[in-house]
């Protein structure tokens, strides 16, 4: 079965400092990994995804994520945090060929990012 773990309920960081939001996954076959952001009372917005190729993926709003197959991780990063980055972040996984489940995304529980001025 597929699963995603986001070990931190909340991450606090000062504006201008680098940020990392952690994600680990479990899936059969090759993983397809996604990050979404959710602002208060809004739907989910796509940030970036890893399909194949370069382990460092760049996405919207200056975010990037690093795929690490040996550690089954896909941590979200940003070199310099902004107060406006404060939101709820979700990691999600989809199975690849051979997983028996290439359709639905499975989400983690979410991590609240708080960036303080």
């Amino acid at each position: 079965a597929q699963s995603v773990a986001q070990p931190e309920d909340q991450v606090n960081v000062a504006e201008g400092n680098p940020l990392t939001v952690k994600c680990t996954y479990s899936v059969s076959g090759n993983p397809y990994l996604f990050w979404y952001v959710q602002y208060p009372n809004r739907g989910l917005q796509f940030l970036l995804k890893y399909i194949t190729g370069d382990n460092l993926v760049k996405g919207s709003y200056g975010f990037e994520a690093e795929f690490n197959k040996s550690q089954t991780s896909f941590h979200l990063k940003k070199p310099s945090a902004l107060v406006s980055d404060s939101a709820l972040y979700f990691c999600a996984v989809r199975g690849g060929q051979g997983s028996g489940n290439t359709g639905k995304l499975i989400f983690g529980q979410g991590t609240t990012l708080q960036v303080k001025p």
């Binding site: 809004r42 739907g43 060929q97 489940n101 359709g103 639905k104 995304l105 989400f107």
Partner: protein, 115 residues
Amino acid sequence: GAGVSQTPSNKVTEKGKYVELRCDPISGHTALYWYRQSLGQGPEFLIYFQGTGAADDSGLPNDRFFAVRPEGSVSTLKIQRTERGDSAVYLCASSPGTSSGNTIYFGEGSWLTVV
């Protein structure tokens, strides 16, 4: 519009009543998904359609929940005999297909409150 559209945005209903939630996907997207999100939780998969047919309905919690997509575009999620535990945000999403690499795009959600 360009994005996934969901109506109503907010719905308050009495316990035991029937509710319908509508989703209009991005034009041309063949795959459509329903998720449910409770406060403080991640989105929980309910069902997804490829075209008109339900490809995976394993997430529907019980037979009070049903979804249709008769013409392969708009979808309706139907909840019978609503219970207070059904209160949540119901998120609809669509993608160009169900290939693993396709991005899934979400609507703003329908907030359901059962009183």
